[in-house]
């Protein structure tokens, strides 16, 4: 059973994604911030990490960078509700540049999430 690690500081989002993915047959783990997520992955690497970008302390971009440096093969999907722009780039663009192969802008539909997770895990 493939495993997914959700890293998001919003409990409701974590619960929503857990419910959706467990229903689809995935094993789901949770972390409330980037540090906790990295610590969890080091102990038990998941098949996919769903990483929120805007989090307190260590944000998702920094976490993605660190994760890819330590685990070059890690599969990462970045999600965010933020929309700040740096020129024409947004956070998800930067996340892709740092190594997140897939991105989803919140709010997304659960089917979109499922399609993206399946596509990434079976890649």
């Amino acid at each position: 059973m493939p495993s997914v690690l959700i890293v998001d500081d919003e409990e409701a989002i974590r619960r929503l994604i857990r419910s959706t993915l467990e229903k689809a047959g995935y094993r789901v783990h949770e972390a409330a911030d980037g540090k906790e997520g990295l610590s969890h992955y080091r102990q038990s690497p998941a098949d996919l990490v769903i990483m929120d970008i805007l989090m307190p302390d260590q944000d998702g971009l920094e976490s993605i960078l660190t994760l890819r440096q330590e685990f070059p093969d890690a599969r990462i999907m970045a999600i965010t509700g933020g929309s700040d722009m740096i020129g024409i780039l947004n956070f998800l663009d930067v996340a892709r540049m740092l190594g997140a192969r897939r991105t989803l802008q919140k709010p997304f539909e659960m089917q979109q999430l499922l399609d993206a997770v399946q596509a990434e895990i079976t890649r």
């Binding site: 419910s19 959706t20 509700g81 929309s83 663009d93 892709r96 919140k106 539909e109």
Partner: protein, 535 residues
């Protein structure tokens, strides 16, 4: 002392010699020059002071005329006036210059009075001469200084003017230009003729000569004769100008500075609002994710077609609408006037269509094909919104009053040199294509050739619709794109807008549509059903 007292004090004949000694002593010690002359003006006596003033040696004869010591430029005039005065037996008073043997000049003030007793003719003149050279030098220095001031002030690019009471004493060219006043001929004219009373009222001024700190600058507003408003900073100081107490004002046009400051404040405010909006949007999107997501999870748990099922579907629809609104809010909220930014054309277009649906007559059917994964474009969202609105308005107009189908499609397209039938004036690359079609009345062959310039179908030239489409072409061109319009017999008019796409590394593009000629409505049923439900 009366003559009797004098006679008593100095008994004859010694009194005469004593009076003479007295007078000589007084004369020799006097701080002014003294001379005596006969009724014809010939010099009889000069005191030492006058000799020194005029540079007349002590050995010269008393008959030597002081007129001989005048500076050559003054001699003729003074000599004439002296001659006239003595000839008429009247007083004489004049300023002139002595030229001494060493060539130096002394300015003097000479006054002479006829000696008379009891109305008898003058028996001679007594004159007093004061050395006024220091005063005159000071005056000359002052004039020279004022001349230098005028030259410098006249050439200064800084507006300067001087006034006393209500009169303009001086204004340089920079000043007349700033205040848009008639130049020259300002000097002597009234201040109130050109400046409102409150403009110069209560100006704090300092006296630079007294070592006081310069007065603080004061800001005033001025309206020129052409109606333009100026914000002006004034610094005033007390001066002496042409011998008058006056006020000198340095004016600085700060209109542009204030405008810039205002724009900067506005930009800061907009940046703060954008930051705030971004923060709120982030939280809002998280909330919407939960609302949409849990609604999605709840839907399969409800009986299909039940009221609860329908309610939850509406929650999902409303959440999607809210999602698009947040994106639009951010798009327009962070926009500086005319600035370009990354724009998701699908969101702009959906919002425009949503508003259009409410106004379309029943005999016009709207069909849309707008995938969510269209590439972004780099554009001014306000102007691209105008493009969408004008294209849709044009097609709607073409369908009235008979009705028909209005179709809107958005897709990604890659243009390369091998693309069949493509003669677009665009470089090869990725583009976003917006297609607006209508099944309006067919266009005649001669009108077809007028499709591109200006872009109107069978509308008379100069109509509002024609002007609107010309504006569309202009906006599209300014964004690096192009526009193509075609009309096919039996199928109506199609307008395609091509805009350069932004391709971000790692992003996944939406799939390209099938080539033209294939069924364009396959797969659109879901969209149509969705649209019908909304309606």
């Amino acid at each position: 002392m009366s003559p009797q007292d004098l006679a008593a004090a100095f008994p004859p004949p010694e009194n005469f010699r004593s009076i003479e000694t007295l007078v000589r002593t007084l004369s020799d010690q006097a701080s002014i020059g003294i001379f005596l002359s006969d009724p014809e003006g010939h010099t009889l006596y000069l005191n030492d002071r006058l000799r020194r003033m005029a540079g007349i040696p002590g050995t010269s004869t008393p008959g030597e005329c002081w007129l001989n010591r005048l500076a050559s430029e003054d001699r003729d005039l003074i000599a004439t006036e002296w001659s006239e005065a003595t000839g008429q037996g009247r007083s004489f008073s004049r300023e002139f210059r002595f030229q001494r043997p060493d060539g130096s000049l002394r300015w003097v003030m000479a006054e002479a009075f006829p000696l008379r007793t009891d109305g008898a003719p003058s028996s001679g003149y007594v004159g007093m001469v004061r050395d006024i050279t220091p005063r005159q030098l000071a005056l000359e220095a002052l004039h020279a200084c004022e001349e230098r001031y005028r030259s410098l002030a006249a050439l200064s690019p800084h507006p300067i003017f001087v006034y006393a009471d209500d009169a303009i004493l001086f204004m340089n060219d920079a000043g007349t230009r700033l205040f848009n006043l008639p130049s020259p001929f300002l000097e002597g004219r009234s201040l109130s003729e050109f400046f409102p009373k409150e403009f110069l009222q209560d100006l704090p001024s300092a006296h630079p000569a007294r070592g006081i700190e310069p007065a603080a600058a004061v800001e005033r507003q001025f309206v020129r004769s052409d109606g333009t408003r100026l914000d002006v900073e004034l610094i005033a100081s007390q001066v002496t100008f042409d011998g008058h107490k006056a006020v000198q004002v340095l004016a600085t046009d700060v209109t542009a500075q204030k405008d810039t400051a205002a724009q900067l404040r506005k930009a800061h405010k907009m940046a703060a609002v954008a930051t705030l909006a971004g923060g709120i949007a982030h939280e809002f999107n998280n909330c919407l994710t939960a609302i949409m997501g849990f609604s999605d999870l709840a839907l399969p748990l409800l009986v299909p077609d039940s009221r609860a099922h329908g309610h939850v579907q509406q929650v999902i629809l409303a959440s999607k609408r809210a999602r698009d609104l947040v994106t639009q809010m951010l798009m327009f909220g962070r926009q500086a006037e005319g600035a370009k930014q990354r724009v998701s054309l699908d969101i702009l277009l959906k919002e425009t269509l949503r508003l259009l649906k409410g106004t379309l007559p029943d005999n016009i059917s709207l069909r849309e094909w707008i995938p969510g994964a269209t590439n972004s474009i780099y554009a001014d969202p306000t102007r691209i919104h105008q493009v969408c609105v004008k294209l849709l308005a044009h097609s709607e107009l073409a369908l009235k009053p008979d009705g028909g189908v209005l179709e809107v499609r958005l897709d990604n397209i890659h243009l390369d040199t091998s693309m069949n039938g493509h003669d677009l004036p665009l470089l090869p690359g990725q583009y976003v294509r917006l297609t607006v079609s209508d099944t309006g009345e067919e266009v005649s062959a001669e009108d077809h050739s007028h499709k591109l310039e200006p872009l109107f179908a069978n509308l008379p030239a100069g109509t509002r619709a024609g002007t609107e489409l010309a504006r569309v072409q202009q906006i599209v061109s300014e964004h690096g794109g192009t526009l193509r319009a075609t009309s096919t017999v039996g199928q109506g008019t199609t307008i395609e807008v091509y805009l350069p796409a932004i391709i971000i590394p790692g992003s996944v593009s939406a799939p390209e549509p099938p080539h033209e000629g294939a069924s364009d409505f396959t797969g659109q049923k879901e969209f149509l059903a969705e649209r019908d439900k909304e309606r």
